[in-house]
Amino acid sequence: MKISVAAEKIFNIGPIPITNSMLTSFIAILILAVAAIITGKNFKRLPTGVQNVLEMVYEMFENLAVEIIGEKGKTYVPLIVTFFLYIISSNWISLIPGVGSIGLNTIENGQKVFVPLFRGGNADLNTTLALALISVVATQFYGISASGIKNHLKHFINPLEIVSEVSKIFSFGFRLFGNIFAGEVLLLVGATILVIMTRQSSALMGIPGGILQAPFYLFEVFVGFIQAFIFAVLSLVFISIYVQHKVD
């Protein structure tokens, strides 16, 4: 069993290599976008089903933003909610059975290598670092638009502040990546530990393996939610630091 930290390439579209993580995150984006468009088109006064869930999430973050920043915090809610929805749907999609286990056996460097067709969207550093970059850049952008570029630059009189901004990107990115990737590894280990221990790779081993996996599975559902929530709330808190300062 080989655990690859990097996402595996499946095919190329022109110069862009498409990895299995990207495929999963595209699916998540597609599902969310379609759900958003359908809900927007059939928007009802009395919410039902998906609309109810979306409204609930939006209201939760709106209340949080008003609590942390104040009435003007409502401006930043769309970005935060999109972070949350994208991360949580991508996390939960990666828990669907088949993600990470359906794939192709390819020959690479003369060795037989298993390449899964799907891999959790956030189990790839590219995705999480992209999200972290967007979050940090958006924070700076909101800071400038709230207090003007001159006042905003006063935050960086101490050069350590710049270091802390850069480290925020890695902190965001690695936290999300590490949690989700570690979760996938945990599930994989939980499912295959009997196979490894008994050295009998029969399909029957999947049954006790699945039972062993169940508690980890539930835990991963929880982790998927918590990580999405942490990412969204931390973004909101960092925005509030730059937006709320008194102009003196």
Partner: protein, 69 residues
């Protein structure tokens, strides 16, 4: 002798000590806070989850290191 496996184990094992203690302290303090001020339970829970997220990130760094090695 290949010490890579030992290094992997030490990286995540030692790296998990600090965050483990930290998360324990955070959880304990949060419970204390809720016990002292039950009305603020919601706020305390949010703060606790955020703080645990910060503490946990350190263990995750160690995990990443051990996976890369």
């Amino acid at each position: 002798m290949d010490l890579t496996k030992l290094a992997k184990g030490l990286a995540i094992g030692l790296g998990a000590i600090g965050p483990g203690i930290g998360i324990g302290i955070i959880g304990g303090k949060a419970v204390e806070a809720v016990g002292r001020n039950p009305e603020a339970a919601g706020l305390v829970r949010t703060m606790m989850i955020l703080a645990i997220g910060f503490a946990e990130a350190i263990a995750i760094y160690a995990l990443v290191i051990s996976l890369i090695l």
